[in-house]
Symmetry: D2
Protein backbone atom coordinates (compact mmCIF):
# COMPACT_ATOMS: atom_id res chain seq x y z
CA UNK A 1 0.00 0.00 0.00
CA UNK A 2 1.22 3.51 -0.81
CA UNK A 3 2.23 6.20 1.68
CA UNK A 4 -0.53 7.12 4.13
CA UNK A 5 -1.96 10.54 4.68
CA UNK A 6 -4.02 11.81 7.60
CA UNK A 7 -7.14 13.74 6.65
CA UNK A 8 -9.35 15.72 8.98
CA UNK A 9 -13.02 15.96 8.08
CA UNK A 10 -15.96 17.64 9.79
CA UNK A 11 -19.24 15.78 9.97
CA UNK A 12 -22.49 16.21 11.94
CA UNK A 13 -22.37 14.17 15.16
CA UNK A 14 -25.60 12.31 14.32
CA UNK A 15 -24.21 11.28 10.96
CA UNK A 16 -21.00 9.85 12.37
CA UNK A 17 -22.97 7.94 15.02
CA UNK A 18 -25.25 6.40 12.37
CA UNK A 19 -22.21 5.57 10.23
CA UNK A 20 -20.41 3.89 13.16
CA UNK A 21 -23.47 1.74 13.84
CA UNK A 22 -23.62 0.74 10.20
CA UNK A 23 -19.91 -0.08 10.12
CA UNK A 24 -20.24 -2.32 13.16
CA UNK A 25 -23.08 -4.19 11.44
CA UNK A 26 -20.95 -4.54 8.30
CA UNK A 27 -18.02 -5.76 10.45
CA UNK A 28 -15.63 -2.92 9.64
CA UNK A 29 -12.66 -2.77 12.01
CA UNK A 30 -12.26 1.00 11.60
CA UNK A 31 -14.08 4.05 10.35
CA UNK A 32 -11.11 4.90 8.11
CA UNK A 33 -11.41 1.60 6.27
CA UNK A 34 -15.14 2.13 5.74
CA UNK A 35 -14.53 5.61 4.29
CA UNK A 36 -11.70 4.34 2.08
CA UNK A 37 -14.12 1.74 0.70
CA UNK A 38 -16.78 4.34 -0.09
CA UNK A 39 -14.19 6.45 -1.90
CA UNK A 40 -12.83 3.52 -3.89
CA UNK A 41 -16.34 2.40 -4.86
CA UNK A 42 -17.29 5.75 -6.28
CA UNK A 43 -13.96 6.03 -8.15
CA UNK A 44 -14.34 2.58 -9.72
CA UNK A 45 -17.92 3.33 -10.71
CA UNK A 46 -16.94 6.59 -12.38
CA UNK A 47 -13.86 5.06 -14.05
CA UNK A 48 -16.23 3.15 -16.35
CA UNK A 49 -17.76 6.36 -17.73
CA UNK A 50 -14.74 6.69 -20.05
CA UNK A 51 -15.10 4.02 -22.78
CA UNK A 52 -11.32 3.92 -23.27
CA UNK A 53 -10.45 3.44 -19.59
CA UNK A 54 -8.51 0.24 -18.88
CA UNK A 55 -10.64 -1.84 -16.56
CA UNK A 56 -11.02 -5.32 -15.12
CA UNK A 57 -14.39 -7.02 -14.87
CA UNK A 58 -16.13 -10.30 -14.35
CA UNK A 59 -19.02 -11.78 -16.28
CA UNK A 60 -21.17 -14.28 -14.41
CA UNK A 61 -23.12 -16.72 -16.59
CA UNK A 62 -25.67 -19.34 -15.53
CA UNK A 63 -26.72 -21.86 -18.16
CA UNK A 64 -27.88 -25.38 -18.79
CA UNK A 65 -24.95 -27.21 -20.38
CA UNK A 66 -27.39 -29.57 -22.10
CA UNK A 67 -28.49 -26.78 -24.41
CA UNK A 68 -27.21 -27.81 -27.81
CA UNK A 69 -24.06 -25.96 -29.01
CA UNK A 70 -24.16 -23.57 -26.06
CA UNK A 71 -20.87 -24.61 -24.47
CA UNK A 72 -19.20 -24.51 -27.90
CA UNK A 73 -20.45 -20.98 -28.53
CA UNK A 74 -19.18 -19.74 -25.15
CA UNK A 75 -15.78 -21.36 -25.63
CA UNK A 76 -15.53 -20.05 -29.18
CA UNK A 77 -16.36 -16.50 -28.17
CA UNK A 78 -13.74 -16.63 -25.41
CA UNK A 79 -11.09 -17.78 -27.88
CA UNK A 80 -12.04 -15.07 -30.37
CA UNK A 81 -11.40 -12.48 -27.65
CA UNK A 82 -8.31 -14.04 -26.14
CA UNK A 83 -6.70 -10.67 -25.47
CA UNK A 84 -9.69 -9.50 -23.37
CA UNK A 85 -10.37 -12.72 -21.49
CA UNK A 86 -7.98 -13.59 -18.70
CA UNK A 87 -9.43 -16.72 -17.22
CA UNK A 88 -12.65 -18.54 -16.40
CA UNK A 89 -13.98 -20.56 -13.51
CA UNK A 90 -16.62 -23.19 -14.04
CA UNK A 91 -18.92 -24.49 -11.28
CA UNK A 92 -21.44 -27.34 -11.57
CA UNK A 93 -24.53 -26.12 -9.74
CA UNK A 94 -26.57 -29.27 -10.32
CA UNK A 95 -27.19 -31.87 -13.00
CA UNK A 96 -28.33 -29.18 -15.43
CA UNK A 97 -27.03 -25.82 -14.34
CA UNK A 98 -23.52 -24.42 -14.64
CA UNK A 99 -22.21 -21.16 -13.33
CA UNK A 100 -19.23 -19.71 -15.14
CA UNK A 101 -17.34 -16.60 -14.07
CA UNK A 102 -15.09 -15.07 -16.69
CA UNK A 103 -12.46 -12.48 -15.81
CA UNK A 104 -11.95 -9.78 -18.43
CA UNK A 105 -9.49 -6.92 -18.91
CA UNK A 106 -9.26 -4.20 -21.50
CA UNK A 107 -10.90 -0.97 -22.59
CA UNK A 108 -14.29 -0.45 -20.90
CA UNK A 109 -16.01 -0.36 -24.29
CA UNK A 110 -14.60 -3.71 -25.46
CA UNK A 111 -15.29 -5.39 -22.15
CA UNK A 112 -18.90 -4.20 -22.35
CA UNK A 113 -19.26 -5.45 -25.95
CA UNK A 114 -17.92 -8.88 -25.07
CA UNK A 115 -20.24 -9.09 -22.06
CA UNK A 116 -23.17 -8.25 -24.36
CA UNK A 117 -22.13 -10.97 -26.79
CA UNK A 118 -21.95 -13.57 -24.02
CA UNK A 119 -25.31 -12.51 -22.59
CA UNK A 120 -27.07 -12.79 -25.92
CA UNK A 121 -26.08 -16.41 -26.57
CA UNK A 122 -29.17 -18.56 -26.81
CA UNK A 123 -29.64 -20.68 -23.69
CA UNK A 124 -27.73 -18.47 -21.27
CA UNK A 125 -30.18 -18.09 -18.40
CA UNK A 126 -28.49 -15.30 -16.61
CA UNK A 127 -25.58 -13.05 -17.47
CA UNK A 128 -24.24 -10.13 -15.56
CA UNK A 129 -21.28 -7.83 -15.95
CA UNK A 130 -19.57 -6.78 -12.73
CA UNK A 131 -17.57 -3.64 -13.22
CA UNK A 132 -14.34 -3.82 -11.25
CA UNK A 133 -10.97 -2.14 -11.55
CA UNK A 134 -7.49 -3.27 -12.50
CA UNK A 135 -6.42 -1.63 -9.26
CA UNK A 136 -3.82 0.67 -10.86
CA UNK A 137 -5.67 3.91 -10.28
CA UNK A 138 -7.14 2.78 -6.96
CA UNK A 139 -4.56 2.57 -4.20
CA UNK B 1 -27.64 21.04 11.05
CA UNK B 2 -26.63 19.20 14.23
CA UNK B 3 -23.43 19.67 16.20
CA UNK B 4 -20.28 19.08 14.17
CA UNK B 5 -17.55 16.62 14.99
CA UNK B 6 -14.00 16.50 13.66
CA UNK B 7 -12.87 13.07 12.50
CA UNK B 8 -9.36 12.08 11.56
CA UNK B 9 -8.97 9.35 8.97
CA UNK B 10 -5.92 7.76 7.37
CA UNK B 11 -5.95 7.12 3.67
CA UNK B 12 -3.31 6.25 1.04
CA UNK B 13 -1.94 9.42 -0.59
CA UNK B 14 -2.77 8.19 -4.08
CA UNK B 15 -6.37 7.58 -3.11
CA UNK B 16 -6.90 11.03 -1.64
CA UNK B 17 -5.35 12.62 -4.76
CA UNK B 18 -7.70 10.67 -7.03
CA UNK B 19 -10.64 11.57 -4.80
CA UNK B 20 -9.74 15.29 -4.84
CA UNK B 21 -9.60 15.25 -8.65
CA UNK B 22 -13.00 13.56 -8.77
CA UNK B 23 -14.49 16.06 -6.32
CA UNK B 24 -13.25 19.00 -8.38
CA UNK B 25 -14.90 17.49 -11.47
CA UNK B 26 -18.14 17.00 -9.51
CA UNK B 27 -17.89 20.62 -8.26
CA UNK B 28 -17.59 19.81 -4.56
CA UNK B 29 -16.42 22.78 -2.49
CA UNK B 30 -14.74 20.58 0.11
CA UNK B 31 -13.53 17.05 0.70
CA UNK B 32 -15.61 16.86 3.90
CA UNK B 33 -18.82 17.52 1.99
CA UNK B 34 -17.97 14.82 -0.57
CA UNK B 35 -17.33 12.28 2.20
CA UNK B 36 -20.53 13.27 4.03
CA UNK B 37 -22.44 12.61 0.79
CA UNK B 38 -20.90 9.15 0.36
CA UNK B 39 -21.84 8.29 3.94
CA UNK B 40 -25.41 9.56 3.57
CA UNK B 41 -25.87 7.69 0.29
CA UNK B 42 -24.87 4.36 1.76
CA UNK B 43 -27.06 4.93 4.86
CA UNK B 44 -30.12 5.79 2.75
CA UNK B 45 -29.53 2.78 0.50
CA UNK B 46 -29.28 0.44 3.47
CA UNK B 47 -32.27 2.01 5.27
CA UNK B 48 -34.52 0.45 2.63
CA UNK B 49 -33.39 -3.08 3.50
CA UNK B 50 -35.83 -3.00 6.44
CA UNK B 51 -39.39 -3.30 5.03
CA UNK B 52 -40.80 -1.45 8.04
CA UNK B 53 -38.42 1.51 7.87
CA UNK B 54 -40.17 4.86 7.41
CA UNK B 55 -38.93 6.30 4.12
CA UNK B 56 -39.66 8.96 1.56
CA UNK B 57 -39.53 8.23 -2.15
CA UNK B 58 -40.49 9.50 -5.56
CA UNK B 59 -42.07 7.61 -8.42
CA UNK B 60 -41.44 8.99 -11.90
CA UNK B 61 -44.02 8.03 -14.55
CA UNK B 62 -43.98 8.79 -18.28
CA UNK B 63 -47.18 8.11 -20.19
CA UNK B 64 -49.34 9.14 -23.11
CA UNK B 65 -52.37 10.87 -21.62
CA UNK B 66 -54.40 9.87 -24.69
CA UNK B 67 -54.36 6.25 -23.54
CA UNK B 68 -57.94 5.52 -22.58
CA UNK B 69 -58.68 5.46 -18.82
CA UNK B 70 -54.99 5.78 -17.94
CA UNK B 71 -55.21 9.15 -16.21
CA UNK B 72 -58.26 7.96 -14.31
CA UNK B 73 -56.46 4.86 -13.10
CA UNK B 74 -53.45 6.85 -11.90
CA UNK B 75 -55.64 9.37 -10.08
CA UNK B 76 -57.77 6.63 -8.54
CA UNK B 77 -54.75 4.73 -7.27
CA UNK B 78 -53.38 7.88 -5.71
CA UNK B 79 -56.64 8.54 -3.91
CA UNK B 80 -56.83 4.94 -2.68
CA UNK B 81 -53.43 5.43 -1.04
CA UNK B 82 -53.93 8.92 0.25
CA UNK B 83 -51.94 8.25 3.40
CA UNK B 84 -48.85 7.18 1.42
CA UNK B 85 -48.99 9.80 -1.33
CA UNK B 86 -47.92 13.29 -0.38
CA UNK B 87 -48.12 15.19 -3.59
CA UNK B 88 -47.63 14.98 -7.34
CA UNK B 89 -46.14 17.16 -10.06
CA UNK B 90 -47.35 16.89 -13.63
CA UNK B 91 -45.30 18.06 -16.64
CA UNK B 92 -46.47 18.15 -20.28
CA UNK B 93 -43.52 16.84 -22.28
CA UNK B 94 -45.20 17.17 -25.68
CA UNK B 95 -48.59 16.76 -27.30
CA UNK B 96 -48.71 13.11 -26.21
CA UNK B 97 -46.31 12.53 -23.36
CA UNK B 98 -46.70 13.47 -19.72
CA UNK B 99 -44.20 13.07 -16.95
CA UNK B 100 -45.57 12.78 -13.45
CA UNK B 101 -43.50 12.65 -10.28
CA UNK B 102 -45.28 11.44 -7.19
CA UNK B 103 -43.83 11.92 -3.71
CA UNK B 104 -44.52 9.07 -1.31
CA UNK B 105 -43.95 8.46 2.40
CA UNK B 106 -44.50 5.46 4.59
CA UNK B 107 -43.12 2.04 5.38
CA UNK B 108 -40.60 0.87 2.75
CA UNK B 109 -42.76 -2.14 1.95
CA UNK B 110 -45.94 -0.14 1.27
CA UNK B 111 -44.10 2.44 -0.77
CA UNK B 112 -42.63 -0.35 -2.91
CA UNK B 113 -46.07 -1.97 -3.36
CA UNK B 114 -47.65 1.27 -4.48
CA UNK B 115 -44.80 1.93 -6.90
CA UNK B 116 -45.36 -1.55 -8.37
CA UNK B 117 -49.07 -0.86 -8.76
CA UNK B 118 -48.41 2.41 -10.59
CA UNK B 119 -45.78 0.82 -12.85
CA UNK B 120 -48.08 -1.99 -13.92
CA UNK B 121 -50.90 0.26 -15.17
CA UNK B 122 -51.47 -0.32 -18.85
CA UNK B 123 -50.08 2.52 -20.95
CA UNK B 124 -47.45 3.71 -18.49
CA UNK B 125 -44.34 3.86 -20.68
CA UNK B 126 -41.81 4.24 -17.96
CA UNK B 127 -41.99 4.01 -14.18
CA UNK B 128 -39.20 4.22 -11.71
CA UNK B 129 -39.00 4.27 -7.93
CA UNK B 130 -36.34 6.53 -6.45
CA UNK B 131 -35.51 5.52 -2.93
CA UNK B 132 -34.91 8.58 -0.80
CA UNK B 133 -35.09 9.30 2.90
CA UNK B 134 -37.37 11.30 5.14
CA UNK B 135 -34.20 12.88 6.45
CA UNK B 136 -34.83 12.02 10.09
CA UNK B 137 -32.07 9.49 10.46
CA UNK B 138 -29.72 11.32 8.11
CA UNK B 139 -28.36 14.51 9.59
CA UNK C 1 -50.71 4.84 -28.68
CA UNK C 2 -49.31 3.80 -32.05
CA UNK C 3 -50.52 0.93 -34.22
CA UNK C 4 -50.36 -2.47 -32.52
CA UNK C 5 -48.48 -5.49 -33.75
CA UNK C 6 -48.88 -9.10 -32.72
CA UNK C 7 -45.63 -10.92 -31.96
CA UNK C 8 -45.21 -14.62 -31.39
CA UNK C 9 -42.42 -15.71 -29.09
CA UNK C 10 -41.27 -19.11 -27.87
CA UNK C 11 -40.37 -19.52 -24.25
CA UNK C 12 -39.77 -22.50 -21.92
CA UNK C 13 -43.00 -23.44 -20.13
CA UNK C 14 -41.40 -23.15 -16.68
CA UNK C 15 -40.23 -19.64 -17.45
CA UNK C 16 -43.64 -18.41 -18.56
CA UNK C 17 -45.23 -19.93 -15.43
CA UNK C 18 -42.73 -18.17 -13.16
CA UNK C 19 -43.27 -14.93 -15.09
CA UNK C 20 -47.06 -15.18 -14.77
CA UNK C 21 -46.77 -15.67 -11.02
CA UNK C 22 -44.51 -12.63 -10.77
CA UNK C 23 -46.89 -10.53 -12.88
CA UNK C 24 -49.82 -11.44 -10.65
CA UNK C 25 -47.81 -10.35 -7.59
CA UNK C 26 -46.92 -7.09 -9.34
CA UNK C 27 -50.60 -6.62 -10.28
CA UNK C 28 -50.15 -6.72 -14.06
CA UNK C 29 -53.42 -7.16 -15.93
CA UNK C 30 -51.74 -8.95 -18.84
CA UNK C 31 -48.53 -10.66 -19.83
CA UNK C 32 -48.23 -8.37 -22.86
CA UNK C 33 -48.17 -5.29 -20.66
CA UNK C 34 -45.49 -6.81 -18.43
CA UNK C 35 -43.31 -7.62 -21.46
CA UNK C 36 -43.86 -4.15 -22.93
CA UNK C 37 -42.63 -2.69 -19.63
CA UNK C 38 -39.48 -4.81 -19.63
CA UNK C 39 -38.74 -3.72 -23.20
CA UNK C 40 -39.33 -0.05 -22.44
CA UNK C 41 -37.14 -0.21 -19.32
CA UNK C 42 -34.17 -1.62 -21.16
CA UNK C 43 -34.58 0.91 -24.01
CA UNK C 44 -34.73 3.86 -21.60
CA UNK C 45 -31.71 2.58 -19.69
CA UNK C 46 -29.67 2.20 -22.87
CA UNK C 47 -30.83 5.56 -24.27
CA UNK C 48 -28.69 7.26 -21.62
CA UNK C 49 -25.48 5.66 -22.91
CA UNK C 50 -25.39 8.33 -25.63
CA UNK C 51 -24.37 11.64 -23.95
CA UNK C 52 -26.17 13.63 -26.66
CA UNK C 53 -29.49 11.77 -26.40
CA UNK C 54 -32.44 14.00 -25.48
CA UNK C 55 -33.80 12.74 -22.18
CA UNK C 56 -36.11 13.64 -19.33
CA UNK C 57 -35.12 13.04 -15.73
CA UNK C 58 -35.92 13.88 -12.15
CA UNK C 59 -33.56 14.85 -9.37
CA UNK C 60 -34.75 14.13 -5.84
CA UNK C 61 -33.15 16.24 -3.10
CA UNK C 62 -33.60 15.98 0.67
CA UNK C 63 -32.23 18.83 2.75
CA UNK C 64 -32.62 20.86 5.90
CA UNK C 65 -33.91 24.24 4.83
CA UNK C 66 -32.33 25.80 7.94
CA UNK C 67 -28.88 25.26 6.46
CA UNK C 68 -27.60 28.74 5.75
CA UNK C 69 -27.70 29.83 2.06
CA UNK C 70 -28.74 26.34 0.92
CA UNK C 71 -32.16 27.27 -0.47
CA UNK C 72 -30.61 30.26 -2.23
CA UNK C 73 -27.95 28.09 -3.87
CA UNK C 74 -30.54 25.56 -5.12
CA UNK C 75 -32.78 28.30 -6.51
CA UNK C 76 -29.83 30.08 -8.12
CA UNK C 77 -28.58 26.92 -9.80
CA UNK C 78 -32.06 26.23 -11.16
CA UNK C 79 -32.27 29.73 -12.63
CA UNK C 80 -28.80 29.42 -14.19
CA UNK C 81 -30.01 26.30 -16.02
CA UNK C 82 -33.47 27.50 -16.93
CA UNK C 83 -33.42 25.73 -20.28
CA UNK C 84 -32.75 22.33 -18.65
CA UNK C 85 -35.08 22.66 -15.67
CA UNK C 86 -38.77 22.28 -16.37
CA UNK C 87 -40.35 22.49 -12.97
CA UNK C 88 -39.91 21.64 -9.31
CA UNK C 89 -42.09 20.28 -6.53
CA UNK C 90 -41.35 21.08 -2.92
CA UNK C 91 -42.59 18.99 0.01
CA UNK C 92 -42.18 19.81 3.71
CA UNK C 93 -41.27 16.52 5.36
CA UNK C 94 -41.05 17.90 8.89
CA UNK C 95 -39.92 21.04 10.71
CA UNK C 96 -36.39 20.62 9.32
CA UNK C 97 -36.47 18.43 6.25
CA UNK C 98 -37.61 19.30 2.75
CA UNK C 99 -37.88 17.04 -0.23
CA UNK C 100 -37.64 18.69 -3.61
CA UNK C 101 -38.12 16.91 -6.94
CA UNK C 102 -36.85 18.75 -9.98
CA UNK C 103 -37.86 17.72 -13.49
CA UNK C 104 -35.12 18.16 -16.10
CA UNK C 105 -34.94 17.84 -19.89
CA UNK C 106 -32.05 18.09 -22.31
CA UNK C 107 -28.99 16.24 -23.52
CA UNK C 108 -28.08 13.35 -21.20
CA UNK C 109 -24.68 14.88 -20.53
CA UNK C 110 -26.05 18.26 -19.42
CA UNK C 111 -28.73 16.69 -17.28
CA UNK C 112 -26.08 14.59 -15.53
CA UNK C 113 -23.84 17.65 -14.98
CA UNK C 114 -26.67 19.64 -13.44
CA UNK C 115 -27.62 16.71 -11.20
CA UNK C 116 -23.98 16.54 -10.03
CA UNK C 117 -23.99 20.26 -9.28
CA UNK C 118 -27.18 19.97 -7.22
CA UNK C 119 -25.88 16.92 -5.33
CA UNK C 120 -22.63 18.62 -4.37
CA UNK C 121 -24.27 21.64 -2.70
CA UNK C 122 -23.29 21.76 0.96
CA UNK C 123 -26.16 20.68 3.20
CA UNK C 124 -28.00 18.53 0.67
CA UNK C 125 -28.51 15.30 2.60
CA UNK C 126 -29.55 13.13 -0.26
CA UNK C 127 -29.59 13.63 -4.00
CA UNK C 128 -30.48 11.17 -6.67
CA UNK C 129 -30.85 11.32 -10.42
CA UNK C 130 -33.66 9.22 -11.89
CA UNK C 131 -33.08 8.57 -15.55
CA UNK C 132 -36.36 8.69 -17.43
CA UNK C 133 -37.31 9.34 -21.04
CA UNK C 134 -39.06 12.13 -22.87
CA UNK C 135 -41.26 9.40 -24.30
CA UNK C 136 -40.58 10.23 -27.94
CA UNK C 137 -38.60 7.14 -28.77
CA UNK C 138 -40.64 4.91 -26.45
CA UNK C 139 -44.10 4.22 -27.76
CA UNK D 1 -34.18 -26.98 -21.60
CA UNK D 2 -37.80 -27.60 -20.64
CA UNK D 3 -40.77 -27.87 -22.96
CA UNK D 4 -41.35 -24.80 -25.12
CA UNK D 5 -44.51 -22.75 -25.27
CA UNK D 6 -45.59 -20.26 -27.91
CA UNK D 7 -46.89 -16.96 -26.56
CA UNK D 8 -48.60 -14.24 -28.51
CA UNK D 9 -48.14 -10.69 -27.31
CA UNK D 10 -49.37 -7.37 -28.64
CA UNK D 11 -47.00 -4.45 -28.73
CA UNK D 12 -46.99 -1.02 -30.40
CA UNK D 13 -45.22 -1.18 -33.78
CA UNK D 14 -42.80 1.58 -32.86
CA UNK D 15 -41.75 -0.25 -29.72
CA UNK D 16 -41.02 -3.52 -31.50
CA UNK D 17 -38.99 -1.66 -34.14
CA UNK D 18 -36.90 0.07 -31.47
CA UNK D 19 -36.45 -3.25 -29.66
CA UNK D 20 -35.33 -5.02 -32.85
CA UNK D 21 -32.73 -2.33 -33.49
CA UNK D 22 -31.46 -2.69 -29.94
CA UNK D 23 -31.30 -6.49 -30.22
CA UNK D 24 -29.26 -6.27 -33.42
CA UNK D 25 -26.79 -3.97 -31.67
CA UNK D 26 -26.59 -6.39 -28.75
CA UNK D 27 -26.07 -9.28 -31.21
CA UNK D 28 -29.22 -11.22 -30.33
CA UNK D 29 -30.09 -13.90 -32.88
CA UNK D 30 -33.82 -13.67 -32.19
CA UNK D 31 -36.42 -11.48 -30.53
CA UNK D 32 -37.62 -14.44 -28.45
CA UNK D 33 -34.18 -14.89 -26.90
CA UNK D 34 -33.99 -11.18 -26.05
CA UNK D 35 -37.40 -11.31 -24.35
CA UNK D 36 -36.49 -14.50 -22.48
CA UNK D 37 -33.41 -12.69 -21.15
CA UNK D 38 -35.44 -9.72 -19.94
CA UNK D 39 -37.83 -12.05 -18.15
CA UNK D 40 -35.04 -14.06 -16.53
CA UNK D 41 -33.24 -10.89 -15.41
CA UNK D 42 -36.27 -9.52 -13.63
CA UNK D 43 -36.99 -12.89 -11.99
CA UNK D 44 -33.42 -13.26 -10.72
CA UNK D 45 -33.43 -9.70 -9.41
CA UNK D 46 -36.70 -10.23 -7.54
CA UNK D 47 -35.63 -13.66 -6.22
CA UNK D 48 -33.16 -11.89 -3.93
CA UNK D 49 -35.93 -9.93 -2.19
CA UNK D 50 -36.65 -13.03 -0.08
CA UNK D 51 -33.77 -13.38 2.45
CA UNK D 52 -34.34 -17.14 2.64
CA UNK D 53 -34.28 -17.76 -1.12
CA UNK D 54 -31.56 -20.16 -2.25
CA UNK D 55 -29.29 -18.24 -4.59
CA UNK D 56 -25.92 -18.36 -6.27
CA UNK D 57 -23.65 -15.35 -6.42
CA UNK D 58 -20.14 -14.18 -7.10
CA UNK D 59 -18.02 -11.78 -5.10
CA UNK D 60 -15.31 -9.94 -7.02
CA UNK D 61 -12.41 -8.66 -4.93
CA UNK D 62 -9.44 -6.54 -6.04
CA UNK D 63 -6.59 -6.20 -3.57
CA UNK D 64 -2.87 -5.73 -3.15
CA UNK D 65 -1.51 -9.06 -1.96
CA UNK D 66 1.40 -7.24 -0.28
CA UNK D 67 -0.98 -5.87 2.35
CA UNK D 68 0.02 -7.61 5.54
CA UNK D 69 -2.27 -10.47 6.66
CA UNK D 70 -4.82 -9.69 3.93
CA UNK D 71 -4.51 -12.97 2.04
CA UNK D 72 -4.66 -14.88 5.31
CA UNK D 73 -7.85 -13.09 6.34
CA UNK D 74 -9.54 -13.81 3.01
CA UNK D 75 -8.56 -17.47 3.10
CA UNK D 76 -9.62 -17.81 6.72
CA UNK D 77 -13.03 -16.27 6.07
CA UNK D 78 -13.57 -18.62 3.15
CA UNK D 79 -12.77 -21.63 5.30
CA UNK D 80 -15.06 -20.44 8.08
CA UNK D 81 -17.92 -20.38 5.56
CA UNK D 82 -17.08 -23.54 3.72
CA UNK D 83 -20.73 -24.46 3.23
CA UNK D 84 -21.47 -21.15 1.46
CA UNK D 85 -18.31 -20.88 -0.64
CA UNK D 86 -18.11 -23.14 -3.66
CA UNK D 87 -14.89 -22.15 -5.29
CA UNK D 88 -12.58 -19.25 -6.05
CA UNK D 89 -10.55 -18.04 -9.01
CA UNK D 90 -7.43 -15.96 -8.50
CA UNK D 91 -5.93 -13.72 -11.20
CA UNK D 92 -2.66 -11.78 -10.96
CA UNK D 93 -3.43 -8.37 -12.46
CA UNK D 94 0.07 -6.96 -12.02
CA UNK D 95 2.96 -7.05 -9.53
CA UNK D 96 0.70 -5.68 -6.80
CA UNK D 97 -2.92 -6.26 -7.69
CA UNK D 98 -4.92 -9.47 -7.52
CA UNK D 99 -8.45 -10.07 -8.61
CA UNK D 100 -10.30 -12.89 -6.92
CA UNK D 101 -13.78 -14.10 -7.83
CA UNK D 102 -15.50 -16.25 -5.27
CA UNK D 103 -18.58 -18.30 -6.11
CA UNK D 104 -21.13 -18.55 -3.31
CA UNK D 105 -24.34 -20.48 -2.75
CA UNK D 106 -26.89 -20.45 0.02
CA UNK D 107 -29.67 -18.37 1.50
CA UNK D 108 -29.68 -14.82 0.12
CA UNK D 109 -29.19 -13.42 3.61
CA UNK D 110 -26.08 -15.49 4.40
CA UNK D 111 -24.56 -14.83 1.01
CA UNK D 112 -25.04 -11.09 1.56
CA UNK D 113 -23.49 -11.28 5.07
CA UNK D 114 -20.43 -13.12 3.80
CA UNK D 115 -20.02 -10.63 0.95
CA UNK D 116 -20.14 -7.80 3.52
CA UNK D 117 -17.49 -9.53 5.64
CA UNK D 118 -15.18 -9.94 2.64
CA UNK D 119 -15.70 -6.33 1.53
CA UNK D 120 -14.86 -4.92 4.94
CA UNK D 121 -11.45 -6.60 5.21
CA UNK D 122 -8.74 -3.95 5.47
CA UNK D 123 -6.79 -3.63 2.22
CA UNK D 124 -9.51 -4.88 -0.10
CA UNK D 125 -9.62 -2.14 -2.74
CA UNK D 126 -12.81 -3.14 -4.40
CA UNK D 127 -15.49 -5.67 -3.57
CA UNK D 128 -18.72 -6.30 -5.32
CA UNK D 129 -21.51 -8.82 -4.93
CA UNK D 130 -23.08 -10.06 -8.17
CA UNK D 131 -26.50 -11.50 -7.56
CA UNK D 132 -27.05 -14.53 -9.75
CA UNK D 133 -29.29 -17.55 -9.57
CA UNK D 134 -28.76 -21.24 -8.97
CA UNK D 135 -30.78 -21.73 -12.12
CA UNK D 136 -33.40 -23.96 -10.55
CA UNK D 137 -36.29 -21.54 -10.73
CA UNK D 138 -35.13 -20.03 -14.01
CA UNK D 139 -35.57 -22.34 -16.96
Amino acid sequence: MSELERLSITIPKGLSTAFDKRNARKKYASRSEAIRDLIRDVLVKEEWADPKAQVAATVTLVYDHHTRTLTDRITELQHDHGETIVSALHVHLDHHNCLEVIVLRGAAKEVQALADALASIRGVKHAQLTRATDGKSIV
